[in-house]
């Protein structure tokens, strides 16, 4: 019995070693692809850059920067054209660029470059303007997007510890002034704890409950009134238009546009952020 257990332990240990070696190997491959992709982008070979950056993501090295670079490569690839044939973004590159900028921002909402580039990419689509939120909601989102969810979590935890320390300081000071200072700073820290926790939670739910999708089809895609290609076409969004996914039915998805219109689109034409 003990022997069996020993053998098992050895096997498990082996798996762990091989697994970690494998992981390390993957990481090195990803690094090579990353460098290759950047070099290709600098040379203007955007198709190769796209391939390499996609490969990095396939290898599991998922970060805001890789999505940002991939989106940039897609955008540049789509902007290329043979003179006389101005079919910009003929392969759905604009849709892919928008999608990957969204993904980068999902991982790092504070990435200002991605936000700027996304704005440019969206300018090239025929996306409708979103219904503007209230001023408070806009401010709240703007504040939330200055940091990642994890940064907000750290802030809230540090503020929590600080609050406890200040409370103790308040309780232990003898002098009235120090007691007063301790009391009010503890209160302020408490507010910071509450706000930062709320922002971290809000940021988390924005990611976890994200039902947004981007149209990635290469041409104007028909959106039908019902999940049936014979039904009436109610809209033709261009690639790069962001929608909210409501539900799916067969190979159709019901989507909600930013201006409030609903319709059915083939699931293969959209990709979840």
């Amino acid at each position: 019995m003990r022997e069996v257990r020993n053998i098992l332990a050895v096997v498990v240990a082996l798996f762990v070693v091989v697994g970690s070696a494998h992981a390390a190997d993957k990481r090195t491959t990803a690094e090579v692809c990353w460098k290759e992709g950047i070099a290709a982008y600098e040379d203007g070979d955007y198709a190769r850059a796209v391939d390499n950056f996609e490969r990095v993501i396939e290898l599991g090295e998922v970060s805001a920067d890789i999505y940002y670079n991939l989106a940039g490569a897609y955008f540049k690839l789509g902007q290329e054209y043979t003179p006389g044939v101005s079919r910009h973004f003929a392969g759905g590159e604009l849709g892919r660029a928008v999608l990957n900028y969204h993904r980068a921002l999902k991982l790092n909402p504070a990435m200002e470059d991605a936000r700027y580039n996304l704005d440019i990419a969206v300018d090239h689509t025929n996306d409708t303007e979103a219904v503007p939120d209230s001023f408070i909601a806009t401010m709240w989102i703007a504040l939330r997007n200055t940091m990642t969810s994890n940064a907000w979590t750290v802030v809230s935890l540090v503020a929590l510890v600080l609050t406890f320390m200040l409370v103790l300081f308040y309780l232990l000071s003898e002098r009235m002034v120090l007691r007063k200072v301790g009391f009010f700073t503890a209160m302020a820290c408490m507010v910071v704890v509450i706000v930062a926790t709320a922002l971290a939670l809000s940021s988390r739910s924005a990611v976890v409950e994200d039902e947004r999708a981007v149209v990635v089809c290469n041409d104007t895609t028909p959106v039908h009134a019902s999940p049936d290609s014979a039904s009436k076409i109610i809209r033709r969004p261009s690639q790069g238009v962001t929608v909210s996914m409501l539900r799916s039915h067969g190979d159709w998805s019901e989507v909600l546009f930013l201006d409030g219109e609903k319709g059915w689109i083939r699931s293969s034409y959209i990709e979840m952020i």
Binding site: A30, E31, W34, K35, I38, Y41, V56, G60, E61, V62, S63, A64, D65, I66, Y68, N69, G72, A73, F75, K76, Y81, T82, P83, G84, V85, S86, R87, L107, N108, D113, Y116, N117, I120, A121, D123, H124, T125, N126, S149, N150, W152, T153, V154, L157, L160, V161, F164, V167, L168, L171, L172, S173, E174, M176, T197, A200, L201, R204, V207, V208
Partner: protein
């Protein structure tokens, strides 16, 4: 409904015209001698009219059947010299009659202009004696000393003996109905196409032919198929009837309709049957109802429904390897471009014109795309076409005008435009290119005022910023994978719990000190009057000793110390103003506060100034009274 009726009458009209033309020559007015004199006089009067070249022609059917006599006419449009006509030898034919000569002369005045024509015709009636192709050699004639000859004319003689005999057996005069007088193959309708194997977009010609051996009175109805899968257009055509041989028999052939078809989809496309019904005329020699004046001829009208057989057209798709600029243009084309103005001021309009000319599906080609520099504003392309329909497809030219406005100054290069087409004759793609242009835009002085304009006209037209591009990618080392969300994870909760636990532990550990600390404050406040009383007592002792300086010092210390302890304010922070303020805030009346401050000022003054003995006890009593007053108010 109206349209149908209209088109039907037009068919009938064309048919009637065709018949008339047939008879034209024979209908030519034969002049009477009475008229001739007048005409000759007029002709003499108008002899200044230059005759120029006379023409001498021969006319005979190109196709005839064995045993069927036919006419050969030699006509000259000028007065020939007497007896100068020399007929050729009619080898292969028997001359039944001729030559019979007929002459005609006509004068016309149209809008005051006079024109005259002369015609002299020599007619022979020939009977083919054997089948085969024979040539009627040249005839010659002399006009004004000049000799003219006709061109040799080939005549095909066919032997339709069997067909004729079978038809003849049917024609049993006894039990003949008018219907049975027309054999099934006496009237044939055919839809012919120029080609059955074509590329998508290539044009083919289709024409509807009516072959008949009997007289056709009229067309009752014509039901053309819808030509699904084709883009069809009607062509105008020459409706002169001809004689054609069909299955060894001779027919009069009439063209009913001619269309240009351009397939719009690949695959096998079937053109369904065309159905036409005609009214044929049958003349029956009736001996029983012989009319002494009009003869025994009875004319019957027989209705016949004719039907073409369906035709399958094999439409090939374009071969692989189409260039990117190919948009479905089929045929052969040339492209030229023009830019009238290569130098302009900013904010002024200019244009580029591109002309595509050639033969093919011009109606379906799309304008080549013009790519302008970003600071140029592009407007809608204007299209002017000059396209004609011909039997071989549409031909002509289309001119595209691309207007634009240059917004900013500088020298810009306009990339060449590409246009690709597929040539079905060679089965290859060809790409045409325009020249690249260089545009020099000079500043009109307002450039700075309009840095942003509604560019990107093709992308929705909203106001957008020009010359914006995405920022450069992030270089450097490959960042590690993004961390997962920390909040609400066990680690997060662990940190929270540890922080709370540490706080609790520290609180519990320092519980006693915290309690004491809180008590120190409370005690100090309670103690305040006691301390004051003690201090006052010390002052009393000094008073009894007669030490004025010490007394007032103790008094001041007692007064300041009392406020400091009572209200937990450091002595160093105390002034008379703060005392007044603190006392006022704690509900002590201003009078009492004023008295308190007065004691302090009196003590300060008296500390170094000599004063009456009784003063010390008075101050002492007053201070005690004020303190007890404050105590009464503050304690409550």
């Amino acid at each position: 409904m109206d349209g149908e009726v209209l088109s039907l009458t037009s068919y009938n009209k064309t048919l009637a015209e065709a018949f008339n033309k047939c008879r034209k020559i024979s209908c030519f007015v034969k002049m009477k001698t009475t008229l001739r004199l007048i005409l000759v006089l007029v002709a003499l009067a108008s002899s200044w009219v230059a005759w120029g070249q006379a023409s001498f022609t021969v006319d005979a059917p190109a196709l005839t059947a064995l045993g069927q006599p036919f006419r050969v006419e030699f006509s000259v449009d000028a007065e020939p010299e007497r007896d100068s006509f020399k007929a050729p030898a009619f080898t292969g034919f028997e001359v039944l009659a001729g030559p019979s000569v007929s002459t005609g002369h006509s004068i016309q005045f149209i809008n005051g202009k006079q024109s005259s024509s002369y015609n002299c015709t020599y007619t022979y009636v020939l009977l083919p004696s054997e089948s085969g192709t024979f040539t009627i050699a040249s005839a010659s004639i002399k006009v004004d000393g000049k000799s003219y000859t006709t061109k040799p004319l080939a005549i095909e003689v066919i032997d339709e003996g069997e067909a004729e005999s079978s038809a003849a057996t049917e024609r049993n005069p006894r039990q003949q109905t008018p219907e049975s007088r027309i054999a099934k193959d006496d009237i044939v309708l055919k839809l012919l196409v120029s080609e059955t194997d074509v590329y998508k977009g290539e044009s083919i010609r289709a024409w509807l032919m009516l072959y008949t051996r009997v007289n056709i009175d009229s067309i009752e109805s014509l039901d053309m198929p819808s030509f699904d899968g084709f883009w069809s257009q009607e062509l105008s055509f020459d409706n002169t009837p001809s004689r054609e041989q069909l299955g060894g028999r001779i027919y009069e052939a009439y063209k009913i309709k001619e269309l240009l078809l351009s397939p719009q989809q690949s695959g096998k496309i079937v053109i369904p049957a065309t159905i036409m019904s005609v009214l044929a005329q049958v003349v029956v020699e009736d001996k029983r109802h012989f009319d002494p004046i009009f003869g025994g001829r009875q004319v019957y009208h027989v209705s016949r429904e004719l039907r073409t057989s369906p035709i399958t057209i094999n439409v090939k798709d374009f071969p692989q390897g189409a260039p990117a600029s190919f948009n479905g243009a089929v045929g052969s084309f040339t492209m030229s471009s023009r830019m009238p103005q290569a130098e302009l001021e900013s904010n002024t309009a200019d244009q580029i014109e591109v002309t595509i000319a050639g033969n093919g599906n011009l109606k379906f080609i799309t304008a080549p795309t013009l790519i302008l520099p970003e600071s140029f504003e592009k407007y809608d392309t204007k299209v002017v076409d000059n396209v004609k329909l011909t039997a071989s497809g549409t031909s002509g030219s289309i001119t595209y005008t691309y207007p634009f406005v240059a917004r900013s100054a500088g020298e810009f290069r306009i990339e060449p435009m590409l246009f690709s087409y597929f040539d079905p004759t060679t089965g290859e793609y060809h790409t045409l290119t325009t020249e690249p242009y260089t545009v020099k835009v000079t500043d009109d002085g307002t450039a700075a005022a309009v840095p942003m304009v509604g560019g990107y006209a093709g992308y929705g037209g909203a106001m957008r910023q020009l010359d914006r591009d995405i920022r450069f990618i992030h270089t450097g080392k490959l960042p590690s994978s993004a961390a997962s969300m920390m909040i609400l994870t066990p680690i997060y909760w662990l940190v929270v719990v540890v922080a709370v636990a540490l706080f609790v532990v520290v609180y519990v550990a320092l519980r006693k000190r915290i309690r004491d600390n809180r008590n120190i404050v409370a005690r100090r406040m309670k103690r305040a009057d006691k301390v004051a009383v003690q201090r006052l007592r010390m002052a009393q002792r000094s008073m009894e000793e007669g030490n004025r300086h010490a007394f007032y010092e103790e008094m001041l210390r007692a007064m300041w110390g009392y406020i400091s302890d009572k209200f937990n304010i450091p002595v160093s922070n105390l002034t008379k103003e703060t005392i007044r303020e603190v006392l006022y805030r704690r509900g002590v009346s201003a009078d009492v506060a004023e008295q308190f401050c007065e004691i302090i000022s009196r003590s300060e003054e008296a500390q170094y100034a000599p004063s009456a003995e009784g003063d010390m006890s008075e101050v002492y009593a007053f201070a005690a009274e004020v303190i007890s007053k404050i105590e009464n108010v503050v304690k409550r």
